[in-house]
Amino acid sequence: MLDTATALKRTPFHPRHVAAGAKLVPFAGHEMPIQYEGILTEHRTVRAGVGVFDVSHMGEIRLRGPGAIAYANRLVTNEVGPTLPEGKVVYSPMCLEHGGIVDDLLVYAFGSERYLVVNASNFDKDFAWIKQHAPADVEVIDENAKTAQLAVQGPRAEEVVGSIYGDRARALAFYEAYVDGTGDGATIVSRTGYTGEDGFELYVPAARALEVWDRVFAAGASYGIRPIGLGARDTLRLEMGYCLYGNDIDETTNPLEAGLAWTVRLEKSDFIGREALLKAKEVGVKRRLLGLILEGARIGRPGFEVEAQGQRVGTVSSGTMGISIGRPVAMAYLEGDAARAGARVDVVARGDRIPAVVSGRPMYTHGSVRSPKPRRPQ
């Protein structure tokens, strides 16, 4: 058997995963916890209380220099220009000239800089892309290796993070952040997440990672805080209809068909992919990424075809058990009359047809998150 484990990167939290009995798997070049107690339990912990994810595999890139803000705004489709208030966080696709998605990321407005958080699986590609297009007055800094990231998520997250970082953390609105401390010890406290619950993401210096993990777990002990694996991260995000790069979006899909038109600011200054997206909007999208709620208990897996009255109308891009919904859920690119909430379709699962109802996103609407589609303040 190939020994691939030695080539995998370990995050600074690795000793805590081992101690907690995590099942570790290779994920985007990292050895990551897929589960601890089991996905069902972990999912419910985040919906009802508070859980902690190691998301250190995510990639951090800082843009610095006189042209940093203008350049960030040229890279992504959403508005991240000089009008952003300090500490604002913006979710945005970053597109190719033809409108396909290079990656989806978070952009943080910190002073004259922009701080980008990208998907682990795309880090090398993204870094090369951003370097390649950067003007001379922008420095593109790889902060990936020196940054560990913890996501503290759930309706009790504010109590936990507030007890460590105080009122400034408690006062953050969803999709706002600030930098706690200065220099090499600085931590970014960010009220963001990928679960549909209220929550925070903490970007901490790798050298301080274990100390922060221990403080978070001590602060959360009375709320039943637990470590949560990437398995539950997927079931939580899927119930919310949040896109996963590589499944629901990639270089062959554009943000308009992915239901991300709210992140495409065609009226802002020029950006990479603008022309193609303008044209796509004029012509109208042919397929749309929508939710599915399946009948029965079988799961619709990526690649399964979707039919309506025996005709193929689309393909499943992500699917899992909707643990809080109580039914399997999926996301699928759908065409024609099937591409609307309420349409009845069949998911073709290895020969069987599973009836399903098309749903808007999110499919789960009872989360503690303040806005499922965080927007720039107008």
Partner: protein
């Protein structure tokens, strides 16, 4: 890892309990751990003829779907219907309450050819 001595096994991590010309089939403790939380077990109706080493059903876990292979040829005599309501029994009690089907064996020699618990433990050792 619990590998009961009185059962037979397959490379696909199924166990086989033999009694009176019939075998009970389920998946091993190792298999349920690898799959994670099981949420649906798709089993054929009683009366179905199964062919050795061919799929006869599937298990949906949250993260993945896995085929079930018939360890021996024969006819399905019973199906564990409690798994419909409570598929987690496959995780909680893989060798007892999580059994899946009972097959009337066509050719008893096929049972004899299955892995012993020692064979299966060796196989697991190779996975570790």
């Amino acid at each position: 890892m619990n590998v009961p001595k009185d059962l037979r096994y397959t490379k696909e991590h199924e166990w086989i309990r033999s009694a009176g010309g019939e075998v009970e089939v389920g998946i091993t403790e190792y298999a349920q751990g690898e799959l994670g939380d099981v949420i649906f077990v798709d089993l054929p109706p009683v009366g179905t003829k199964v062919v050795a080493m061919k799929t006869f059903g599937s298990i949906d876990a949250v993260k993945t779907v896995s085929d079930l292979f018939a360890p021996v040829a024969g006819e399905i005599m019973a199906v564990n219907d409690t798994l419909k309501e409570n598929p987690a029994l496959v995780n909680q009690s893989p060798y007892e309450k999580g059994w899946m089907v009972r097959i009337r064996v066509e050719n008893p020699a096929e049972v004899g050819a299955l892995l012993t618990s020692d064979d299966y433990e060796k196989l697991l050792g190779a996975h570790a």
